[in-house]
Amino acid sequence: MSFLFRRLGFYLLAFWASITLNFLLPRLMPGDPVTRMLSRSQQRLEPQQVDALRTMMGVDGGPLIPEYFSYLGRILTGDFGMSISRFPTPVAEVIASQLPWTLLLGITSLVIAVILGNLLGILAAWRRGGFLDSVAPPLLVFIGSFPYFWLAMGALYIFGINMGVAPMRHAFSVGLVPGFNLEFILDVAAHLFLPALTIVLVSLGGWMLGMRNTMIATNSEDYILMAEAKGLRPHRIMLNYAARNAMLPSVTSMGMSIGFIVGGALLTEVVFAYPGVGYQLLAAVQGLDYPLMQGMFLTITAAVLIANFLVDLVYVRLDPRVRKG
């Protein structure tokens, strides 16, 4: 239990650090972000709103400490300010409408990549030098070397533009009413397929090699020999003895790689015009929409921290040593 509390405290600290960075960044950097922003937004803002922005970005030269606390208060109540590129929608609203799609894409591809990669790793380590062990690692490493978004561009070009078998943009067909029915779910799945596939392909190699390498170490442990000597079925030794113990580093690295997958998902969304946070991020960058960028940074950080905490829960379940310690 104390393990989980310690982790929770650490995540809160990390989140606080992100908020503080967010607060300090526009105040420490040279130049006036508000002026840059205004020249892009074609003067659609009212004077009071410009003043509010100046206070938020800290370019009005107000006292730092009180401003910091009011900033903390605003963030904790979910007030990220107004979006410039989608004026006058509040940033929180823009993000809330797009986060579900990013979560859907990110979680789907992460779960598939982790399960598939670990299974492949287990099998490759179990048959050292076999077909899977010699062909898959170099191939997957090569595919894993491509930037996510470039593989996405390639997939979109081949399947979407050349063959015309995959939907090219958005999360569901235009004109379809979102609802909990088979037609809509199948349509969403069809739109999800290519973006998820590219993320899975790029990240698969890392999972497989990680699992394979720890499995190889585990396979030479005495308890594996003992299990064989007892005459247990190979299948059982592989999954319940070797893989279960080799899985721990994999679970730890899962927490670490969530942030990485999110980054890949954001870029993939840009290519597929998938209506998640990443797609909006591009618009935010082009429109110099600083409040939206900062809001996205905090939201995504929070999501990653929560995901890490969930991974910790799984870890405690898998490794009895942390429960006692």
Partner: protein, 324 residues
């Protein structure tokens, strides 16, 4: 077990334990290099990287003048005149790709090397001095590891003045933590070795112990971390520039891809515009990854490819022991 015995054996006959440790490590480094050159993966990886570096250096020879100038009608497919075709604006794609290699490789290597150096400094000093300093440095490292990289890159790059320097600084800020963590855990295990204790007893200064005793003995880990950092930096740079957050006026593989999408060449089916730059990034990253796996295999013999494949009907470990 064997580790402990060799350590204590070599310690006794030498007059200066500290010198022997450093010498042994230097010998180890040259041996690592020689073994690397005998490893197929390493040779393949190094050759690809050298070819790319050579092409980047020779870009002004092959394509003198401004590579971004317009040389033909827009969006021409590959031909004898333009081997990789031209962009929507009419620039030669091969020229853009070769010139792009210069800043992509430079930024990737510079940011990778800087992140590794910072990682080594922080990891080593944390592991060596321990206690409060270690706690504080580990905390900062772990916070930076947890904060998702791309969104952090985006807000940093958005607020800083655009330019090549910004891109490098931003990549280092997001990239050092991973290497610091690896360095710390590796340095921790070496910190406990007898020869470090011997050096401390003989009155060497902490800096000298860290640089001469501990660092050379983690050469292979530094190497894999460095390669990993360069791969990460090249990828992150491409992602950043693809979003339009780099300096759109510098030529690089990332900005090439940015222009390819913003000109809509993907939707128009002009594959020759976006394929070369992405393929170049992938090839360089793959070559670096190959070197990385080679170093891994050399330092961890268990990962080497077995000479014979294990058949599903092959004798198990127990059965082989019984035969003896």
């Amino acid at each position: 077990m064997s580790q402990i015995t060799t350590d204590s054996l070599t310690l006794i006959p030498e007059d200066s334990a500290a010198e022997s440790a450093a010498d042994r490590a230097r010998l180890g480094a040259t041996r690592l290099l020689r073994t690397l050159l005998r490893n197929g993966k390493a040779v393949a990886g190094l050759s690809i990287i050298l070819v790319f570096i050579a092409l980047a250096l020779l870009a002004p020879v092959f394509f003198p003048g401004d590579p971004a100038r317009i040389t033909s009608a827009g969006a021409a497919a590959p031909s004898l005149e333009h081997w990789l075709g031209t962009t929507t604006k009419g620039q030669d794609v091969l020229g853009l790709t070769l010139w792009g290699a210069r800043s992509s490789l430079f930024v990737g290597f510079a940011a990778g090397i800087l992140s590794t150096v910072i990682g080594v400094l922080i990891g080593l000093s944390g592991a060596y001095f321990g206690r409060g300093l270690d706690e504080a440095l580990s905390l900062v490292t772990n916070v930076f590891l947890l904060v998702p990289g791309l969104p952090l890159l985006v807000i940093l790059a958005a607020f800083m003045p655009p330019g090549l320097g910004t891109v490098i600084v931003v990549l280092v800020i997001t990239g050092w933590a991973g290497s610091a963590r690896v360095m710390r855990s590796q340095a921790m295990s070496i910190r406990g070795k007898d020869y470090v204790a011997a050096a401390q007893v003989s009155g060497e200064r902490p800096l000298r112990i860290m640089v001469r005793e501990i660092l050379p003995n983690m050469a292979s880990v530094v190497m894999t971390t460095l390669l990993g950092c360069i791969i990460g930096s090249i990828g992150a740079q491409a992602g950043l520039e693809f979003l339009g957050l780099g300096d759109v006026n510098t030529l690089s593989w990332g900005t090439n891809l940015f222009w390819a999408t913003s000109d809509g060449s993907l939707m128009l089916g002009q594959w020759w515009i976006f394929v070369p730059s992405g393929l170049a990034i992938a090839l360089v990253a793959f070559a670096l990854a190959l070197c990385n796996y080679a170093v891994d295999e050399i330092t961890n013999p268990r990962l080497r490819r077995p000479k014979h494949a294990t058949k599903s009907t092959a004798a198990t470990t127990v059965a082989r022991k019984e035969e003896k």
